[in-house]
């Protein structure tokens, strides 16, 4: 069991860090685009204004946002309201956290289930986005169900951790 959780943790961490570097690189795309658009280096590059930057950075942003979700849950960095159940070892706290994670599971589960169906349909039909690049939807729209699937499994791992009596000193 513990081995399974550690694997889930590692996968979440990998994609979380990937997400971080996606954001990092978007910053450079945008800067490149501003420079090119404002004719600063037009004479060197001779390229047309780069419409693709806007679209590509949006697609990458969706991917990064949802790929990072599981990692943020694992690191317990999600915003929670800390007004009750402050003792991490009390039964009440464990029950509360379980309820909380159930809602996470419902949210993530629905997003995966319906997101996958939607994705499958447009993928089989070969649809693209209606935008400039006309990117295939199998690429753009898989971000939701892939990211939430990671979040779903990480939530399961967290539920089990709440009840794992051996590891009482959770941070």
């Amino acid at each position: 069991m513990t081995g399974l959780f550690l694997t889930i943790d590692r996968i979440s961490e990998f994609f979380g860090k990937l997400s971080a570097w996606i954001y990092f690189s978007i910053g450079f795309f945008i800067t490149y685009e501003i420079i090119v658009r404002n004719d600063i280096v037009r004479q060197f590059l001779g390229t047309a204004p780069t419409i693709w930057v806007d679209e590509l950075s949006r697609v990458l942003q969706v991917w990064a946002a949802y790929l990072g979700a599981a990692y943020v849950l694992k690191e317990q960095e999600m915003v929670t309201i800390d007004v009750a159940f402050k003792n991490p070892n009390s039964l009440a706290r464990r029950l509360a956290e379980t309820v909380a994670l159930m809602f996470m599971l419902v949210f993530a589960g629905v997003s995966v289930f319906f997101g996958f169906q939607l994705w499958l349909k447009s993928t089989l039909a070969g649809h693209t986005t209606d935008s400039f690049l006309g990117l295939p939807k199998w690429f753009t729209h898989s971000s939701v169900w892939v990211g939430f699937a990671l979040l779903f499994f990480q939530s399961l791992a967290q539920v089990c951790r709440v009840w794992n009596t051996k590891k009482i000193n959770r941070t």
Binding site: A48, P49, I51, L118, K121, S122, A125, H127, T128, T129, D130, S131, F132, G134, K137
Partner: protein, 308 residues
């Protein structure tokens, strides 16, 4: 009889002509169905942004909605026929081509239904394309040559390329600043936007090319439609026909009122038949490119428009 709710998602506010168009659909449908159909309008993108409407309606997440026709291009590329320049000779030809039951509409509506699961109820007129320029009016294709032009769609970009200009895709809200700062030389937009976005303050010539149309579509989830009683189905289809004509008459009347009003603020240029013929010849390549690149329905759609 159980009451069926038709939830309608709209990007624009309720007060906009498109919102009013839906409200008049609502009043007809609710009255004729004796309350067994109820229409709830959710304006101002409360539910979905424009670009999500095809999928939202198609999947049945929401029962009905309006979207810019070009939003369906991802699944039915041929819908962009509406942007092919000078394909419709005049207003009468345009009206004939876009009205419910026309050959072009039958091909496109069927394809949209098949690809997305959204049933087209009616097409919503939004306006027609004009060109904006500073210094001298645009009259002939040569006036575009070497110019940087703002466009709002892929096919419009092809048009500019065919005329020897450099197209720049830009959202409507960025126009004012772009014209003011001379980031582009020539503007392409709908006539009503020239007034609403105060573009006359930064451009002093407007050419009424009316070479392509800007259309929205009112769509309904097909499964939902099929699940309605036969009588309610026909109530919806009847109402659609009525409000389609209503809106088109209203939009074109408003457009000409706006143009009249703008005459005092900028130079307005009409194209003569002779001039239009030159534009048509210069942009003939766009039609070929459209047929070549826009998939199986493209050719039949062009044929449907041209056969009278």
């Amino acid at each position: 009889k159980a009451e069926k709710i038709i939830r309608v998602t709209l990007q624009l506010p309720e007060t906009h002509s498109l919102g009013q168009n839906w409200l008049s659909f609502k009043s007809i449908v609710e009255k004729k169905s004796g309350g067994s159909l109820k229409v709830q309008l959710f304006p101002s993108a409360q539910l979905y942004k424009d670009k999500q409407v095809p999928e939202a309606v198609g999947s049945g997440a929401v029962e009905a909605g309006s979207a810019f026709l070009g939003r369906f291009a991802g699944s039915v590329p041929a819908v962009e026929v509406i942007n092919v320049p000078f394909l419709f000779d005049n207003e009468a030809a345009l009206r004939a081509a876009v009205s419910t039951g026309s050959k072009m509409r039958n091909i496109l509506d069927t394809a949209v239904l098949k690809e997305t699961g959204a049933k087209v109820l009616w097409w919503q007129a939004f306006g027609r394309n004009v060109y904006l320029n500073n210094d001298s009016p645009i009259r002939l294709p040569a006036d575009i040559k070497g110019k940087k032009v703002r466009t709002y769609g892929k096919i419009l970009g092809w048009t500019i390329e065919a005329l020897g200009g450099a197209p720049t895709l830009m959202s409507g809200s960025k126009q004012f600043l772009a014209y003011q700062q001379k980031a582009v030389d020539v503007g392409m937009t709908g006539a009503s936007a020239v007034k609403s976005r105060k573009l006359y303050e930064v451009m002093n010539h407007m050419t009424l090319s009316f070479d392509s149309a800007i259309e929205f579509v009112a769509v309904m989830n097909n499964k939902f439609f099929e699940g309605l009683s036969k009588s309610n189905q026909s109530i919806i289809l009847e109402a659609s026909k009525i409000v389609e004509k209503q809106l088109r008459d209203q939009i074109y009347a408003e457009e000409s009122a706006i143009v009249d009003e703008l005459r005092s603020k900028m130079t307005v240029t009409d194209l003569s038949e002779n001039e239009r013929a030159k534009w048509r010849a210069a942009t003939e390549g766009v039609v070929d490119r459209f047929i070549k690149e826009r998939g199986k329905n493209a050719e039949s759609v062009i044929k449907a428009v041209r056969k009278k």
